[in-house]
Each structure stands twice: as C-alpha cells, then as structure tokens.
C-alpha cells in the first residue's frame, strides 16, 4: 500500500527527517512513536505531498506521490494535530464543505455525514456552531472531517493531544473501528500507551531517524528480557563503571552527561543490584526501574525517557 524509501528533509542546518524508509501494508495500523520534534509530522507532510522531500520517494499503490498528486490526494485522509475547522459553522456545514472538496455530494454525502456524526457521538449537536463545542467534541469532529470520504490511507497526526481520558478512549475506539473496516492508518503519537494499545507495527523515531521498527514483540526483543535501571544525577563516571565489576552479568546500555542505564538480566535480582549500589555510596538523584516495554526500548535506544 505505502512504500517509503530514503526520505530526507532538511530545514536549513536542521535535518528534520533523515533517510527514513518503511512499508505499510493495506489495512495495517502503523504507528510513529517519538517525542515532539522527532520528525513525525514532517514525515506525514511528505507522505501526503504537502512537503517536497530533499531526497527519497513515497509510493502509494505503486504510484509515486508527487507526480500523481492530484489523483492520489483523493486516497488520503489527513487529521492534523490542530483543530482545523470553521468555528462559526455547524458540524454539518463543516462536514458538507470538507466532503464536497473530495467530490462527495447529495445523498451520499448526507448519509456519510450521518454515519460519522453517529460514530463520533455528535449527532445531537450537529446543528450547533463548532465554537460552542468542548475540546473533546472538536477533536472528534476534526477526525470525522478526515475520514469523511472513506480514504484508503488515513494519516492521523497526534489526534488526541489535549483531551480528557474519556474522550481519548472514545477516539481510539473510533480509530480501531476504522482500521477494522480495512482502512490503512498511520498514527503518530508521543503517548506510549496509545502506541502499545493501538498499533500493530510501529517505528520509534527521534531526531528525524527511525531507531527501531517492527511489531511490538519485535521491538521489545531489542531490550530482551532484561530490566533497565536508569540513574540520573551521577557525578563519577568511573564509579558508574566500577559497579559492574561486582555484577558481571549486568552491563551499561547507555551513558550520557548525567545519566546511566544498566541492563539487568532476569537471573540477577534487581533489588540486590540496587542495594549494592547504595552500599558503595553511589551518588544519584533519581533511580527508575523499567520492565521490558516500549518505554524501556526508547530508554535503551536514546538514554532518555520519551517525555524528556
């Protein structure tokens, strides 16, 4: 369905997306997981032909996107990170307009609008101006506008930012329903739980590069069965390395300016390792224990947490 090769985009000295390649199969729910500024939105913008890449290509159903832009845009549905709606218009008027841009009209458009208002739970307030909606309702309508024309590829760019847990749960449920109907979805997020619960395959992204890509199981294998212990505020690097001499099975995953990440195998009791650190007077500000998860993968790959 989607084939991306060696995609690169630079903004002056900053490389926003650095040689990214991946494939997404038809009907798959593929996630980009990464912190803000990782390059997720830039990648989305290049996929939907809004940004011209400096190098690399995007193919949809075997057709290169840029030369076939007008034809292929009919296949995309994009849900931007921000609420992109006309606040003075009603939900119905908004959906009529957005549907009209994709060539929908008449009863087909009306039926589709009714379906989506039902799906997003907005049918009772469909005749009200959007400016009277809550943040969660606007988010749902924002998503409905992107799904209106039944796109074969739906690009969702952090669609749940800034909404309450209940509304978020409802939106994720709607996205799952959409995927179940066979729509290919690319979902960007910086919420680990969303990626874990929603995406069949995902790519972990940071500083414009893919750090890991695969199914959740495949990605978790990167950290193996080991527990990660992250310590921040260390002052003595030699001391950080010396502790391993007493625990030969433990090794250092990453070491930064002020943090070190130890990988502790299952057969080494975590408590014993920590106790020995404390006993030797190891200087630290904070200690975190991460069982094997996407978060621990991110820590292993970058030396920091996703929210840092």
């Amino acid at each position: 369905m989607l084939h991306v090769t060696n995609l690169t985009k630079r903004f002056g000295p900053l490389t926003a997306v650095d040689n990214v390649s991946f494939d997404v199969k038809a009907g798959e729910l593929f996630g980009f997981l990464g912190p803000n500024g990782a390059g997720k939105t830039t990648t989305i913008n290049m996929i939907c032909s809004l940004l011209r890449p400096d190098s690399g290509s995007v193919f949809i159903d075997g057709q290169q996107v840029l030369p076939n832009r007008p034809k292929l845009r009919q296949k995309f549905g994009v849900v931007p990170q921000e609420i992109a709606l006309y606040e003075e218009l009603t939900a119905t008027d908004n959906l009529k307009f957005w549907g009209g841009l994709y060539g929908l009209s008449g009863t087909a458009l009306k039926r589709r609008i009714d379906e989506l208002l039902e799906l997003t739970g907005l049918n009772d307030r469909a005749k009200e101006p959007v400016k009277r909606y809550s943040g969660g309702m606007k988010r749902r309508l924002n998503m409905a506008a992107g799904m209106l024309h039944n796109p074969t590829l739906l690009l969702l760019d952090e669609p749940t930012v800034g909404i309450d847990p209940q509304a978020r749960y409802n939106m994720l449920d709607t996205i799952r329903q959409c995927a179940d109907r066979g729509t290919t979805i690319i979902y960007t997020t910086h919420y680990l739980d969303e990626a874990e619960n929603l995406c069949e395959r995902l790519a972990i992204m940071d500083h414009g590069r893919f750090l890991a890509m695969g199914t959740q199981e495949e990605i978790r294998k990167i950290v193996g069965e080991n527990t990660l212990i992250r310590i921040t505020g260390i002052t003595d690097k030699d001391e950080a390395e010396s502790i391993i001499s007493t625990h030969p099975k433990v090794h250092i995953e990453t070491m930064n300016e002020d943090s070190v990440v130890y990988s502790v195998p299952q057969d080494v009791p975590t408590g014993q390792f920590i106790e020995s650190m404390i006993r030797t007077g190891f200087s630290m500000n904070n200690l975190q224990i991460k069982e094997p998860s996407l978060d621990s993968v991110f820590i292993k790959l970058t030396g920091r947490e996703l929210r840092d």
């Binding site: 931007p80 992109a84 307009f97």
Partner: protein, 415 residues
C-alpha cells in the same frame, strides 16, 4: 472546486454579517455627516445674533454714531441692538436674555472733542461664551476707529468747536477753510480707507461656476469616500487568508484535491464578490435615500466602472496581503497604506484642497481613478470615452496586482 470554496466563505460571512454591514454603512454615514456640515445651503443658515443692550447717558452726536455703527452693514447681521436703562439691562443680563451691555457715559461727545479721556463700559454676560466676546471685540474696534478719526481730524474739529462756542454764525471763509481741511484729510487717508485693503472674493471649484445641489454635493464626497472604504472593506475580508493559515483550515484544504492556487483564486473571487456586494448595496442606499443623481442612461457605464473599481481594489489588497505575515499587520499596517492611497486619491480630502505637489501624484492611486470616474459618470454625465482611460487603468491594476497576488500568496502559503 472554486465554487465550493466560494460557497463556504459566503456561508461564513452570512453567519456574522454585522461587521460587514457596519463597514458598508460607514461611508454613507461619514458622507452624510460631511454633507450636513459643509454641504450647499449651510452658508445660508442664520447665525444667532448677539443681543447687545446699550444705555446711552450722553444722547449726543458721537453716541449716535456708535449706536448707528452697530446697525449698519455686516454688524447689523451680527448684532441686535436694544437701547434701555441700566436697571432693566442688569436684570436682562442676570436672566441670560442678553449677551452684553454697553454703557455710554455722560459728556462722551464733549470729552472726545476736548481730547479728554473718556471710557465706554462693557458689561459681559458671564454665562455666555461667544456673544460677549464678539461684542467686546467690536466695541474695541469702534473705540479705536473713533479715536483715530478724532486724531486725524483734530484741526477742523477744533475750528468747528471754537465756532460753536462763539455762539456766532461762522463766516464763509471759516467754513471754506474747514471744508478744504476735511477734504485734504479724506484724500490723505483715502488710500487706507477706500478701497479696503483685503477683499474677500468667493472662489468656486472646477464645477465651472455651477453650484452643486444637495444630492450632487453628497455624490461628490461619497464617490471618493466610497472608493476608499471599498479598499478598507476588502482588506478586512482579505485577512481571512492569513486566518485560514493560522487556523490550519488551509492545511486541510491543500492536502485535499484542492490546490493552493485554487484556494487563492477562490479567495480573490470571494473578495471581488463581497466588494461588489458592498459597493452596489451602498450606492443603492445612497440613490434611494440621498438623492444621488445617477441618470438611467448612465447606469451601464456606472456598473462597468464599478466592477473595474472593485476588481482593482481586490487586486491591490490581495497583493498587499500576500506580502505580509501576520493578522496584526493586516489590521495595523495595511490600513495605513490605504490611507496614503486615499489621501493621494482624494478619498480623505478633496483633491482641490491638496497642495499641487500631492495633486500631481494622484494618478498613482487607484482610488483617484475610481472616484474621478464616478464623478465624471454621475455628476458630469460623462460618456464611455470620458472614462475610457479610467477603465483601462483600473483593468490594468486589477490584472497586474491580481496575478502578482496569486503568485506571491502561493509561494508564501506553501512555505
């Protein structure tokens, strides 16, 4: 696609038409106000007269001269004189029934003839502002003039006085001597007294002496103001292009099958449509309510010219909007540019009132071509050939600036 984008913008405008209608009504209100203040017939309005009370204790020739002066020529238009006694005058002033009281003392004439100091007393009504001030100024001038006349004519007056006091009939020679002396004084002072050094002449504008009727005057002012306000109205609506970028609806539009060029073109058509709506609505109201003399034979010319004016305004404003980056600049910087164009084009002040240097630059402003064209069509009954140059310039402005606007907008919106 353009139709859908256009329909959406008109639907949005229809949800909140108050601002738009307020902008359309502004030029009408402003023109009405200016017509009321400066329009024809205003100078015929009767100014309230200054009510001046006079108490004359002298009842002499000189006091008669003073009183008589208030009853002659322009002073008669300004003052209403009433002779009364001091008690009544005091009561009238207290009750705010008069502006001032002039008291002429006893022996006023004698003192003047004997060159003795004498004084006129002016009692002003403190509760009035302009009347007492006018009375004071006028009495000062009269006192000064009387004093000068007495100094110039001191010699014959002395002769006259001695002849009166001798209680004899003056001799023929004495009368001849007085007559010669007065004649010489008049001749010497004639260059100062006749004719007046400053003459007020009434000038007319290029209407070639034909005075404008109420409706014509209104139209003359409205044409310039309406064209300038058209630029303001279109500018207020053009800010929507930046709003759509900031609100991310533009993002959603350009990832759809609609292109940026389609979006910009639709916005320009929307600005043109809204501009036409405001322009024709305003003129329709003006024709119905304010006696604008648009003849039936010139309606087509007026419509053609109006369409070109709106097209030029759309092109220029869209181009200016394509150069700026924020909503604040749309409402902050661009109105200043429109005001400059308005001044040059006669939209703020009639061109005839501007210095020649600025008048020589008026051709750079599309507001000038629009307003002057309307003047020619409505007021002077101009034909197509009379406004052919105007039409050509406005068409050129709309094509050049409209094309540049699409080009610049496209580049900026995609960045």
């Amino acid at each position: 696609m353009i139709g859908k984008l256009l329909k959406k913008d008109i639907l949005r405008l229809s949800k909140h038409p108050e601002g738009f209608l307020a902008l359309v009504s502004l030029p009408l209100l402003l023109t009405l106000l200016l017509s009321l203040v400066f329009g024809p017939g205003r100078n015929k309005q009767v100014m309230p007269k200054v009510n001046l009370l006079i108490v004359d204790h002298d009842k002499s020739l000189a006091s008669q001269m003073i009183k008589g002066a208030f009853g002659r020529d322009q002073l008669a238009d300004m003052f209403e004189i009433e002779e009364t006694d001091e008690e009544t005058a005091g009561t009238r002033i207290e009750n705010n029934k008069a502006s001032a009281l002039l008291i002429i003392p006893e022996n006023f004439s004698d003192n003047l003839l004997n060159s003795k100091a004498t004084e006129l007393t002016l009692v002003k009504n403190p509760s009035q502002q302009f009347g007492p001030k006018m009375a004071e100024e006028t009495v000062n001038i009269l006192a000064e003039a009387t004093d000068r006349l007495l100094r110039i004519g001191a010699e014959p007056l002395d002769l006259l006085k001695s002849e009166i006091e001798s209680e004899n009939y003056p001799e023929d020679g004495a009368i001849t001597a007085m007559a010669v002396s007065i004649n010489q004084i008049m001749r010497q002072s004639s260059s100062l007294l006749f004719p007046p050094v400053i003459q007020l002449s009434e000038a007319t504008t290029e209407t070639s002496g034909e005075s404008l009727s109420g409706g014509q005057f209104f139209t003359y002012i409205l044409a310039s103001i309406a064209v300038m306000f058209l630029f303001f109205i279109i500018n207020a609506l053009a800010g929507d292009i930046i709003d759509e970028k900031d609100n991310r609806t533009l993002y959603r539009i350009i990832v759809s099958p609609a292109s940026v060029s389609t979006f910009v073109l639709s916005k320009n058509i929307y600005l043109f449509a809204a501009g036409c709506m405001s322009h024709f609505l305003m003129w329709a109201v003006a024709i119905v309510l304010f006696d604008v003399p648009l003849s039936f034979s010139n309606v087509l010319l007026f419509v053609l010219l109006s369409l070109l004016i709106v097209a030029a305004a759309t092109g220029v404003i869209s181009f200016l909007n394509s150069l700026i980056k924020s909503r604040m600049m749309v409402s902050g910087v661009l109105p200043a540019v429109i005001i400059v164009l308005g001044v040059l084009g006669g939209g703020m002040v009639p061109l005839q009132s501007l210095p020649p240097f600025i008048r020589s630059l008026s051709w750079v402003s599309p507001i000038f071509w629009g307003a002057d064209g309307i003047h020619k069509v409505i007021l002077w009954g101009g034909s197509f050939s009379d406004i052919a140059k105007h039409n050509f310039v406005l068409l050129g402005v709309s094509v050049v600036f409209g094309s540049l606007a699409i080009l610049f907008h496209r580049r900026r919106l995609l960045s």
